[in-house]
Symmetry: C2
Subunit: 361 residues, 2 copies
């Protein structure tokens, strides 16, 4: 097997970026470090892939977007937004679907294919905090999502806890007390499910409503089908339910279907709110209230940050974490608007920008 | 600007494939043709991109899928199916979104980026019969859709006319006579809209129902929003309607929304059928009848044909056109199943395989 930059970095005890800097003749490297890297290169017989580099020296004008699943509407719409933002800046996007497989996600970061494009926007769904070292890559990278914090890269994420709390509080404000969750991941400490469930519990606590585990419905994958199954299971369990917070819109649409199949009126008997504000929820019957996590802004910011890294000269800027504002959009499923009317914003959670505290540095 | 293979082909009066064959030392070329190409190469100073070729001689294990729009569920699901089929065969897919722009679609075929991957599955939405010469490319290509017939490439398409006729006939069989169309493209001679509208008219004729232009609703883009607008316009025009054939499911979901907003019962007052059988229609309220054009089989066949071209040795096989079977799936919106029940197949239109008759050869 060919020796990689990663092997050199490991032997020299430095980061892949440092190896890359040495190989590419970057000036600001301590003599001792440079020597260590050069010894490792000599020892391992590492050879730069020249034909790849020839193509690389001229930028490709393309970057890669790696997402878990395009059949999930959120990611399809995110891809669409990223492509539009890139297009406005003269960039072309190649999209890779990882299927949320650890192996595929690691491969995306391995750099094996990095000569194809100039950089990567990456939304991991399988890798987690333990995989942080994989994110120390020698190409421009912007991380999306809430699986990994503290990677040496720009990061665009959502206001998950605050937005989930506000969505739940909106159901409480309608007088609902028996609020079910659809899509929980029991025992998971990282990721959207954990954060959104935490926001749900905060809202209950603030309202003085005791937490009832019988109201928490598990769903591994966040699809329409799993939403319908989970909702059906909760309803069939006989537990009293007067509202539902589905942790994404695909599951909310599935839950709506399950409620409809049992002839339960939404919002009359059960109010329902989702998360993502995908295009579907404007057209469902009834239309679906949701959390708009700022998808457009996420896409736009990710493209800006990546292009900035790709085209930067001189000292690299510190890594930033950007959180767009999120909005609760009320529609028919929470009785906020009459049939046929557009949704309206019933709450805003402000985002912000802060430096990334890189883990392990 | 660099001289391209296209320029050489033009000057020598041969196809790009012939130039490629000469450049790559392919044996079966007439001496006279070879000489013409070599003279053109010398005259124009054409130089093969060596670094691209170095990368090419080793296959990348990847191919490109170019689709118009990932935010259209049909294409997101098609991409997902292609990726799964590729994965089972050990191939990785990079996806490019063209936005149905002529410029982007031509760029995909131009081969400027063909060194990135080993081949292309391409679903054009802007290019048409006049652009056939662009499809004469020097890399493995499989064409999807109904915009371009007769390109020198394998082609996977749908059973559009027969399936649309069957969908309309299904509405007729329910006793409906005032069947509106949502999504027509007036004056267009090629593409899905023209073919599906033709199938609709055939079904009316077979049933002895006179064609009424007032029932034909135009919609340029086939989105939920345009479906809702077109349905609203038809309803507001005061024309009598007892059924709707939406030319894709996204528009059918929009039409359903418009009917709901006007408190028109589906299927009681208006029966509704779509086309594509995307995942959404199993979960809408009511669930939506649709035409399953064989998306899984389209994806699987396209991958098989492309991989066969990429890995072929010796004389190339003749180009084939493959049409999967299509199925009419009845659900709540045509009263075929009670609330909460799965859809059921109420009709099948067989597909088939035939050789492509390459235009201009």
């Amino acid at each position: 097997m060919a020796v990689t930059m990663h092997d050199v970095a490991q032997r020299a005890g430095v980061s892949i970026k440092t190896v890359s800097n040495v190989v590419n003749g970057y000036p600001y490297i301590r003599a001792e470090t440079r020597e260590r890297v050069e010894q490792a290169i000599a020892h391992l017989g590492y050879r730069v892939n020249v034909s790849a580099r020839n193509l690389r020296t001229q930028r490709t004008g393309m970057f890669t977007l790696a997402v878990p699943e395009l059949s999930l509407p959120y990611f399809a719409e995110l891809a669409d937004s990223v492509i539009q933002a890139a297009d406005e800046n003269g960039w072309t996007v190649l999209i890779e679907q990882t299927g949320a497989s650890r192996e595929r996600e690691a491969e995306v970061l391995s750099g094996r294919r990095r000569h194809l494009t100039d950089g990567l926007i990456f939304s991991p769904l399988a890798l987690g905090p333990d995989d942080l070292p994989l994110f120390d890559v020698d190409f421009p990278l912007v991380v999306l999502g809430e699986r990994v914090f503290g990677a040496p890269a720009d990061h665009v994420t959502m206001n998950n806890v605050a937005a989930a709390r506000a969505a739940t509080a909106h159901l409480v404000a309608l007088g609902r007390r028996r609020i079910a969750v659809v899509g929980a991941h029991e025992g998971e400490q990282v990721g959207s499910a954990a954060l959104r469930t935490a926001g749900y519990r905060q809202a209950l606590e603030e309202a003085g409503i005791p937490f009832d585990p019988a109201l928490v419905g598990e769903a591994g994958l966040w699809h329409r089908s799993t939403g319908a199954e989970t909702m059906g299971r909760l309803l069939d369990s006989g537990v009293e339910i007067d509202a539902v917070f589905a942790l994404n819109d695909a599951m909310a649409l599935g839950a709506l279907h399950a409620l409809h199949a049992r002839r339960i009126d939404v919002p009359g008997e059960v109010a329902l709110i989702g998360f993502d504000d995908i295009d579907d929820v404007r057209y469902s019957v009834p239309t679906l209230s949701s959390v708009d996590p700022g998808r457009e802004q996420i896409a736009r910011t990710a493209v800006e940050l990546l292009v900035e890294r790709i085209t930067a000269r001189g000292e690299p800027a510190p890594f930033r974490r950007v959180v767009p504002d999120s909005r609760i959009v009320g529609r028919e499923s929470t009785g906020d608007v009459p049939a046929g009317a557009e949704g309206r914003v019933v709450g805003i959670q402000p985002g912000g920008v802060e430096p990334v505290e890189v883990v392990g540095r």
